[in-house]
């Protein structure tokens, strides 16, 4: 491929995990970059455990974009799924890039978009949860 992606990135790109949508999602975050053209939608399901902690029990992504956009979408779902919401909120683009073993510089923005989509979904959940 034109850009040198590492094996981990290519693996996530070829076999992306947790792709699709969640019906009755707790929150949805939509991010689009008109210049580059990538569009990422994050769906999350948040439930409380016995201790009353908010857990991100499910997460799915729908992604229009390049190999890096698809790979970062897949990776962020893996990093977030099953974790406490307070932990999930701390996930930033660097964590995704690290988990992927690096991205070409010009594709770093894809990871930022994935984390922004997730943040938006959490925001939506939180604004709904307060009501």
């Amino acid at each position: 491929m034109a850009l040198k992606y590492n094996k981990k990135v290519l693996k996530e790109f070829m076999n992306p995990q947790n792709m699709g949508e969640i019906k009755n999602a707790s929150g949805v975050g939509k991010i689009g970059n008109p210049t580059c053209g990538d569009i990422l939608w994050a769906y999350i399901k948040v439930e409380k455990n016995e201790k009353g902690e908010e857990i991100l029990t499910d997460i799915k992504f729908k992604t229009f974009g390049c190999a890096a956009a698809i790979a970062t979408s897949s990776m962020i779902t893996k990093l977030a799924k099953g974790k406490k919401l307070s932990e999930v909120e701390k996930i930033n683009y660097k964590d995704i890039v690290d988990a992927l073993g690096g991205l070409p510089n010009i594709k770093i923005h894809c990871s930022a978009m994935a984390s922004q989509a997730l943040k938006k979904a959490i925001e939506e959940y939180k604004s709904g949860a307060k009501k």
Binding site: M1, A2, L3, L10, F13, M14, P16, M19, G20, K30, P34, T35, C36, G37, D38, I39, L40, W41, F61, K62, T63, F64, G65, C66, A67, A68, A69, I70, I106
Partner: protein, 383 residues
């Protein structure tokens, strides 16, 4: 062994093994410098002039009108810069189009910094420039019209006969970049009133690093590479004899049969692709399209991702998607056709060769159908 299908022949082609064979003696056996006066040099000179004759003949030019260069980019640079510096400041206006190759557009941009005025003409939805638009754009400052013959991205073959006629009538020079069309579409510099034509070898199963500029006798251009005065003082530098020999052989080996075969396979590809839902063919159909070019947008999915999945199946293509470029800019050609960023980003260029067969096309159609389905299943744009 994993199947490999190279569908990126507009980028470059595999060198014909017969061409390689013809080139080999000119590396270590007849290695002379064509400027040397001894026998070793004379042999090189003979090969050089034999090759020049073949290329001149193929476009109905005189042998002295072919200037060898390092390729299409250099030939385009020589044509535009060379003419600008021999016309400026009396005349400074060039008319070109929005769908030229970067080696025209970026030269034009640079020439603007040197005092040139450039008109970049729009094209229609299929990529054709309107000859009347050229007529309207010509002023008394215009010295050149430069229009790409066969477009490298969308395959549109411009009506150079009409443009040539107009330029002759208006007494402005006409240059065409024929890198993609050469040997696929007949070129007759005399009948078509062409003043300068860019040619190259590596799109026609010849070697990389060699091309030519046809410059009609009597046209004054300023050299951009100064030195020993090779190539009628227009392009100094020891001639690349093996490359030039290979270039001429690749021209000799071009055949009508291959064109016909590619045309049939191109149309089979287009027909097969149009059976996929929600796709759009970019560029024209039929005789006005290069015989080896297909460019199609698969709505709601992205080109680099499509290319990546295809590559995993051993199929090599290219895309006009911004994600694939180093600048994150969408294709300027698709933009000129009126495509928005989403459709440009969804585009795939498939460019076949004389080596392509029906089996390759079937394999490709089977794989692309699956790839499109898979990527659409994860696309937020699908309803």
């Amino acid at each position: 062994m994993k199947k490999e299908i190279y569908f990126d022949n507009a980028a470059t082609t595999k060198v014909d093994e017969k061409v390689v064979k013809e080139m080999i003696p000119y590396f270590a056996e007849n290695y002379g410098n064509a400027s040397s006066q001894h026998d070793v040099g004379i042999k090189a000179k003979e090969a050089l002039e034999r090759s020049r004759k073949i290329i001149a003949k193929s476009i109905k030019a005189n042998i002295g009108e072919i200037i060898f260069t390092s390729g299409g980019t250099e030939a385009n640079n020589l044509a535009l810069k060379g003419l600008f510096f021999s016309n400026y400041p009396q005349k400074n206006h060039i008319i070109t189009t929005k769908i030229e190759h970067d080696s025209i557009l970026n030269v034009c941009k640079w020439l603007e910094s040197q005092g040139a005025q450039i008109t970049y003409l729009d094209v229609d939805k299929e990529g054709f420039v309107d000859v009347e638009d050229i007529r309207k754009a010509i002023t008394d400052k215009t010295f050149l019209v430069s229009v790409i013959h066969g477009n490298n991205e969308i395959g549109t073959i411009q009506n150079i006969d009409e443009i040539g006629k107009l330029c002759k009538e208006k007494k402005v020079l006409f240059h065409t970049d024929a890198c993609q069309s050469f040997t696929k579409v007949p070129i007759n510099v005399e009948k078509q009133n062409l003043d300068l034509v860019t040619l190259n070898a590596h799109k026609i199963y010849g070697p990389k690093g060699v091309g030519a500029l046809y410059v009609k006798d009597g046209i004054k251009i300023t050299p951009i590479a100064h030195g020993g005065g090779h190539e009628k003082k227009l392009r100094s530098g020891t001639e690349n004899i093996p490359g030039i020999v290979g270039f001429a052989k690749s021209v000799e080996f071009a055949s009508e049969k291959d064109i016909k075969k590619m045309t049939l396979l191109r149309d089979k590809l287009i027909d097969g692709l149009l059976k996929i839902e929600d796709v759009k063919l970019n560029g024209p159909t039929g005789d006005k399209r290069l015989c080896n070019n297909v460019n199609i947008s698969f709505n709601n999915i992205e080109g680099e991702a499509i290319g990546g999945y295809l590559e995993n199946e051993g199929i090599y293509t290219s895309t006009g998607s911004a994600c694939m470029s180093n600048t994150l800019q969408t294709s300027h050609v698709l933009k000129a056709l009126g495509l928005g960023p989403l459709q440009s980003n969804s585009s795939l260029r498939i460019s076949i060769s004389k080596y392509t067969n029906e089996e390759d096309v079937d394999y490709f159609l089977e794989k692309i159908t699956k790839v499109v389905k898979k990527l659409r299943s994860i696309s937020p744009l699908m309803r």
